[in-house]
């Protein structure tokens, strides 16, 4: 699953929950799924930030 797919699904879940149409059982399942997606997205963003720092450091080191 890509970050964008996870993000899209997470936001769709939030939207569904906020519409108030989901019964409680479904709402709880959606929440759980949403938390999983949130964790996945967070991990991807943290990894991306690590990559940025690495590249910035490497570029800095390569400067004459």
């Amino acid at each position: 699953m890509t970050f964008e797919e996870a993000q899209r699904e997470l936001e769709a879940i939030v939207h569904r929950l906020e519409s108030g149409e989901a019964p409680l059982d479904e709402a709880l399942k959606l929440w759980q799924r949403g938390e999983e997606l949130y964790r996945l997205c967070r991990e991807r963003l943290d990894a991306a930030e690590g990559k940025i720092e690495e590249l910035a450091g490497r570029a800095e080191a390569a400067k004459p």
């Binding site: 997470l10 939030v14 929950l17 409680l24 709402a27 709880l28 929440w31 949130y38 997205c41 940025i52």
Partner: protein
């Protein structure tokens, strides 16, 4: 004596200006002399005429006249009084047959222009960063050095392939064409500079040679020409993809400024990093907002469910018998059964009465029929209360 010379000089001064033609011999010039001197000789009969011409004027023509050249001289006859020498003071000078040359050049120029050889849309852009630069030049040090110096200054790592050849004389046009071809066959040559320092009109003539002009137009690699000085426009300049006024300018045209390029690259890299960080922050912010909202709805749903439940429980409690008892009613049980009708019990039977708070036991004194609608006077369910003291 002096008066005589002055008289002759004044008489000569009344002669009109003339054009004479001959061969230059004994050209003499010295830095401290204000004029250049030479003798014009008639090649047919050997007749001679002394010529003087102000040095500045002579140099301005840039004709590079040398002994043996055939020239036309336009001038005024005069007497050099101090020595009584007759001579022609030159006002202008041109090479023999120059007019024919110019006319044929003009014709060639019109012909090639009509073919579209000089058209602006034929000009190719020069490469931003040529892998190799071909340089066609004479062993004339100045032009070559100027091109190389300019290239080095702007782009030190540039690779230049120098091809020296004849750039003057009858073999020049063919030699330059051949050198162009040879450079094109080399790997990675992305642009070619043809450079030649200044020279006389004749010196630059090979660069107006039709074959060379066509070769430059047809060259598979873009060509920059820097031939002669600013005011010279040999035809090869018109066919080239770019024309430089001097060899130095040609050098600057074919390479980018490395320092500036590095600066731009640096700025672009910084922008890259800033942009990526900004994108990351934006995504993080968006994710956190979604996360915040994620738990809110289910919590709200639970709270709402709880509230509804409480409400229902409240109503349930309101409907329970306790409330009715609180209003003064009592529940009468015989054994485990609730007594709903007078016929359910027998006089003398023991019943249990439950009130809103507490209760008591009682004995049935009398019973009434089911159909009776009279209010009890002293007995009935109510009368059970009367006997409470006995419980």
């Amino acid at each position: 004596m002096g008066a005589f010379n002055r008289g002759v000089a004044s008489w000569l001064g009344r002669l009109p200006t003339v054009w004479v033609e001959g061969e230059v011999t004994e050209l003499r010039r010295q830095a401290r002399w204000a004029s250049v001197f030479f003798t014009l000789k008639d090649p047919a009969d050997g007749a001679c005429l002394s010529i003087s011409m102000p040095r500045g004027q002579f140099d301005a023509l840039r004709l590079d006249v040398a002994d043996g050249d055939r020239v036309h001289v336009y001038g005024r006859p005069e007497l050099y009084e101090a020595r009584g020498e007759f001579r022609l003071r030159a006002l202008s000078l041109e090479r023999f047959g120059l007019g024919d040359h110019l006319a044929s050049l003009e014709r060639l120029k019109s012909k090639l222009a009509a073919e579209g050889l000089f058209a602006a849309e034929r000009k190719r852009p020069l490469p931003l960063l040529p892998r190799r630069i071909g340089l066609v030049t004479g062993n004339d040090a100045a032009a070559k050095r100027d091109v190389l110096t300019a290239i080095q200054a702007r782009f030190p790592p540039a690779s230049v392939l120098v091809a020296e050849t004849y750039v003057q004389g009858p073999r020049a046009a063919g030699a330059v064409i051949e050198t162009l071809g040879a450079l094109c066959r080399e790997d990675d040559v992305d642009v070619i500079v043809v450079a030649r320092g200044g020279g006389s009109f004749e010196d630059l003539l090979p660069f107006s040679d039709e074959r060379l002009v066509r070769a430059i137009a047809a060259c598979p690699v873009p060509v920059v020409t820097a031939v002669g000085h600013e005011q010279d426009t040999p035809l090869c300049d018109l066919a080239a993809d770019a024309r430089a006024s001097t060899p130095s300018v040609a050098g600057r045209l074919v390479v980018p400024d490395l320092a500036e390029l590095l600066q731009r690259l640096d700025r672009a890299r910084a922008g890259l990093e800033r942009g990526t960080r900004r994108a990351l922050e934006r995504e993080r912010h968006r994710l956190e907002r979604a996360h915040e909202r994620l738990g809110r709805a289910p919590r709200l749903l639970v709270e709402r469910g709880r509230a509804r439940l409480e409400h229902a429980a409240g109503r349930l409690r309101a409907l329970s018998p306790k409330a009715t008892l609180a209003r003064g009613y009592a529940i009468v049980r015989a054994g485990d059964e609730i007594v709903r009708s007078g016929g359910d019990v027998e006089p003398g039977e023991r019943v249990d009465v439950e009130l809103a708070e507490g209760g008591f036991g009682a004995k049935v004194e009398e019973t009434r029929s089911v159909g009776s609608t009279e209010l009890p006077r002293s007995g009935g369910a109510g009368s059970a209360g009367a006997g409470s003291g006995k419980g």
